[in-house]
Each structure stands twice: as structure tokens, then as C-alpha cells.
Symmetry: C2
Subunit: 123 residues, 2 copies
């Protein structure tokens, strides 16, 4: 195969998929940029929160979607779930160090969206 | 209302929604973090591309979803569509300056996902 200037320009030639369908990166990208995943992660960037707090902060989320989103993020090692043996039982959610690393990359994007949304989308 | 230390800690008290449902920020966040939106934006960060190139790079996207995603990003002023009067007609897509500003925030997230996906998701 002849390597042209175009395809040698970057390690990923322009014709290649950004992420091949079904690869690990694509799955993780889907988890962390999902409609609710991104809101939960940004909410937790403010610190540890309870189930009911997260439900309020991700306004519009159903109980089912909150449970499913937290389970996915917990399985990915991004969110830590701590059940406290109190009466009534109390469950807190927080970011793991890896989750914090991720939100360090999500927050600038979030800030940009916040600054530009009104001009782009309007009221 | 008594303002506690907790709620005065940040301009956005922890009980408030991250983004209220239906607000402009929420709509824009949905557009730029949608399953296909994010892949198209990242593909275009490499430079101007044609329809067929974008279809290959966002592997698995249907014609319908590619059209819909590009239309949304174009309407938001993030992607520029240029139809060239050639035979056969040629249409190129590229990022606008605002789209470039956005991908400057998306690429670090993309890099983090790429670096961590195998360990988190596995093969």
C-alpha cells in the first residue's frame, strides 16, 4: 500500500471511523455523553449527593433512568455508591478519582454550552 | 429563606437542576453530546469532509441520521455546508469558528475516553 501525504499526516487516516462501531471507546463515549449520564456526572462534580438530590438536579429524569444511569456509571468505576447503615437507610453517591478525572474534561464543555446556549438556541 | 453555608457556597445551589428541563443549555447539550453529533463534530475537527467521508467516519450511522445530525449542527451554527456547482455536485462540510471552539472542548474528553476505554469497558 502506498502511504500518501494525506494518510500519513495523522496516526488515524481521515477515512477511518472516529471510533469503530462496537469498540470499547464508543461504548464509554455513549455512557459518559448520554442524555442523563452527563447531567449526573456534572451534578456529582459539586460533591457527594443522595438519590433524591440527584433526581432534582437531573430535572425530568425518571426513577428507572436514574437507577440505570447510576448503575452504568458505578460499573464503569466513575461513581461510588455508599449505603450507610442508618434508620432510615441512606445512600450517597460521589465521583471516584477516575470520575473526577472525567468531569475535569466535562466541565469546560458544560461551561461553553452554558455560555453559548442562549445565543445559539434562543429562548 | 435562610441561606446556609452549603447553598451560598456556589452561585448554583446544590438543590437546583444542573440545567432546568427544556432550557436552551439543555437543548444545546443534547445536540452536541448526542450519539452521532459528537462523532460528527470530532470527525470534522480533522478538517473539511464530504458526505460519504462522514458516513464512513461515523461508522454505523444511517443516511437519515447523518442528514438529521448535520442539519441540527448546521442550524446551531456549528457546521458549515458548502455546495459546489460541479458535475456531479459536491457538498463539503466543515466546522464554523464556533464549531471549532466547541471541538476544542470536546477533543480533550475524546482523548480521555480513548485512553481509558479498554481498562474501563474491556474488549
Amino acid at each position: 500500500m502506498t502511504v500518501s501525504y494525506e494518510s500519513s499526516r495523522s496516526p488515524q487516516p481521515p477515512e477511518s471511523p472516529v471510533f469503530p462501531a462496537g469498540c470499547a471507546s464508543r461504548t464509554l463515549l455513549d455512557h459518559v455523553t448520554s442524555k442523563w449520564g452527563v447531567l449526573i456526572l456534572i451534578a456529582l462534580a459539586d460533591g457527594q449527593q443522595r438519590w433524591s438530590e440527584l433526581r432534582r438536579r437531573a430535572e425530568g429524569i425518571s426513577e428507572k433512568m436514574l437507577a440505570q444511569t447510576l448503575k452504568t456509571l458505578e460499573r464503569d468505576g466513575l461513581v461510588y455508591r455508599e449505603a450507610r447503615p442508618t434508620i432510615p437507610p441512606r445512600v450517597d453517591y460521589s465521583l471516584t478519582p477516575r470520575g473526577r478525572e472525567l468531569t475535569d474534561h466535562l466541565l469546560p464543555l458544560f461551561g461553553w454550552v452554558q455560555e453559548n446556549a442562549e445565543e445559539i438556541i434562543g429562548q
